[in-house]
């Protein structure tokens, strides 16, 4: 594939630039590690299973946190879209909380839930919940009314109208909302792990920092990047491409 090749070339280019910067010697090697150092560290982290353990914890956390906020956000958003009053009352709140960097909750989360996974879950979930909710609400509100009317004349009502027409019609917006929610949740989790919990990629990063080991920091960054790209590519890009194809959005472009 041409895109694959371009990706490889661009990765090679990046490595080259990086090595070039190293050779240029702007920073000493312990501050700006060489690609080889990072690769060696990465290999150490992999072979000692440290990376795998950290990954496991992080994946468990993001899975739970994002899952919760996706489910909760969809429910909240759909609820808001059903009732004008509800949306008038809670809408501003949801908007406000959406703009809130959720990491700011963490001191309180610790006080409320303790110095444990619960607090981290709260921070991760709070980061994404409201973004998903407001995307879901506006997605449902902006469904072409023609779909609803057509379904109504064919006898669709209540629950069926919802599952068979409203949700599929809103799917593109829901996906966009979920993707945004994911990126917020991911950011919150990383900040949270960096700040206060052990085990997990963020903690491995913090360890690198505490040990003054720039190569480890870089190696963990590479791992975090890989997770992010993988999720983006494997889940969201693919789902969006499928929806775009089915809905025929690409035709318009």
């Amino acid at each position: 594939m041409a895109r694959w090749k371009a990706g490889l070339v661009s990765a090679a280019l990046l490595l080259l630039c990086w090595q070039g910067l190293c050779w240029a010697g702007l920073w000493p090697r312990y501050v700006f590690p060489w690609p080889a150092d990072v690769a060696a560290t990465l290999w150490r982290l992999i072979s000692t299973m440290e990376l795998a353990v950290a990954l496991l914890h992080t994946v468990k956390r993001i899975g739970l946190g994002f899952g919760l906020s996706a489910a909760g956000g969809l429910l909240l958003g759909l609820g808001l879209s059903r009732s004008r009053t509800l949306s008038d009352l809670l809408g501003p709140l949801v908007q406000g909380l959406q703009s809130m960097p959720s990491i700011c909750w963490y001191p309180l989360a610790i006080l409320w839930f303790g110095w444990n996974e619960g607090a981290l879950l709260f921070v991760t979930t709070a980061g994404a919940l409201f973004a998903v909710a407001s995307a879901a609400e506006s997605g449902v509100r902006n469904i072409p009314p023609g779909y609803i009317r057509a379904a109504a004349t064919m006898g669709a009502r209540g629950w069926r109208l919802y599952t068979r027409v409203v949700l599929p019609a809103a799917l593109p917006s829901l996906l966009t909302g979920l993707r945004l929610g994911w990126s917020f949740a991911w950011r919150s989790l990383m900040a949270g792990e960096l700040l206060f919990l052990n085990l997990g990629l963020g903690h491995l990063l913090a360890m690198g920092r505490d040990l003054g080991d720039a190569a480890q920091v870089m190696a963990v960054i590479v791992a975090i990047l890989a997770v992010g790209v993988l999720v983006d590519r494997a889940c969201f890009s693919r789902a969006e491409a499928a929806v775009r194809l089915r809905f025929g959005f690409d035709k318009a472009a």
């Binding site: 409320w112 839930f113 303790g114 920092r209 003054g212």
Partner: protein, 315 residues
């Protein structure tokens, strides 16, 4: 909820005791008591260690009801006591004195702190209070207060890195970081806090307990205290041997060996004691209040201490 105990009968021994401390030299009793199993042996229950990297983190965990007994610096102890109107903790013994150093880069004049970039391990912790008091005494003002001295809280590891790179001019830290700054990063000892206090007695670590835990399990606390006293006596009796054991346990915790020279230097600057040092703590509280770290009410430490058990254990 994460708070509170499980459904237990009052008086019954707890299934486990959660002990909070920092993996530091100044918390040597905790390190030894956990590593050598002394705590568990004395109280006859499982001991679950909770490690923290700063006093404020430990305080948060105490507030959240996640630790029962806590080795903590005097400043977090006071602020936790005051914030919670006495509901969160009681100090039941002292643990360590000294081991708190102000280190500067060699080219800096100790008496001219103008425009310097200084660091402490956290806002309102014992070293932070000490440095703020020093600044106030000598007439320097921080940037938050419109002056030109930068006073940043940061993790000790970061302090070391930045100090090495010349990004920091000085820091007030606890051991072994003070010795590391001197021996590894070329810092110069400006103040050993012991020199500022009568008889060199400056509280660095205290032993605190959650009041509701104390009232529910007085016997457990009492036995824990016995273990604490025993370990302290042991350290006093055999400083070198104890040092080796602490060093070993810390190396285990941090996953890498520690520098002998650093540990030796740091160890020499700490006095281990069960003396609660109440007067010094009161003085510290006043200083923290003066620095604006304790809110608007003058600190009233009336029942910060509960020394009845200590008097029974070590009359």
């Amino acid at each position: 909820s994460a708070r509170g105990e499980g459904p237990e009968q009052p008086g019954a021994p707890p299934g486990e005791v959660r002990v909070g401390y920092m993996p530091n030299l100044t918390h040597a009793q905790a390190v030894l008591g956990v590593a050598g199993g002394t705590f568990a042996r004395y109280i006859g229950a499982e001991v679950r260690p909770r490690l923290f990297t700063s006093g404020s983190a430990a305080l948060q965990a105490l507030f959240a009801g996640e630790v029962d007994l806590l080795y903590v610096g005097p400043a977090p102890a006071v602020s936790g006591y005051l914030r919670s109107d006495g509901a969160a903790l009681r100090v039941i013994a002292g643990a360590a004195s000294g081991g708190s150093l102000f280190v500067l880069r060699p080219e800096v004049d100790r008496h001219d702190l103008r425009g310097l970039r200084l660091a402490t391990p956290g806002i309102g912790n014992s070293q932070d209070v000490a440095l703020r008091h020093l600044l106030a005494q000598e007439g320097w003002r921080t940037r938050e207060r419109g002056g030109d001295v930068t006073l940043s809280p940061m993790a000790p590891a970061e302090i070391l890195t930045l100090f090495e790179r010349g990004e920091l001019d000085g820091a007030w830290v606890a051991e072994p970081w003070g010795s590391r700054l001197i021996l590894e990063a070329g810092g110069v000892l400006a103040i050993d806090e012991r020199d500022l206090w009568p008889e060199g007695r400056v509280p660095t670590t205290l032993l605190a307990v959650r009041p509701d835990f104390l009232s529910r399990h007085p016997e457990t606390v009492r036995r824990f205290l016995e273990a604490h006293v025993a370990i302290t006596r042991e350290i006093q009796a055999d400083p070198e041997g104890s040092r080796a054991r602490v060093q070993e346990a810390l190396a285990e915790l941090q996953g890498r060996p520690l520098n002998d020279e650093v540990i030796a230097s740091a160890w020499a600057r700490i006095d281990f004691t069960i003396d609660p040092m109440a007067d010094a703590v009161a003085e510290l509280a006043d200083r923290a209040f003066a620095a604006g770290l304790l809110g608007a009410r003058r600190p009233d430490l009336a029942s910060l201490y509960d020394l009845t058990l200590l008097q029974e254990v070590a009359p």
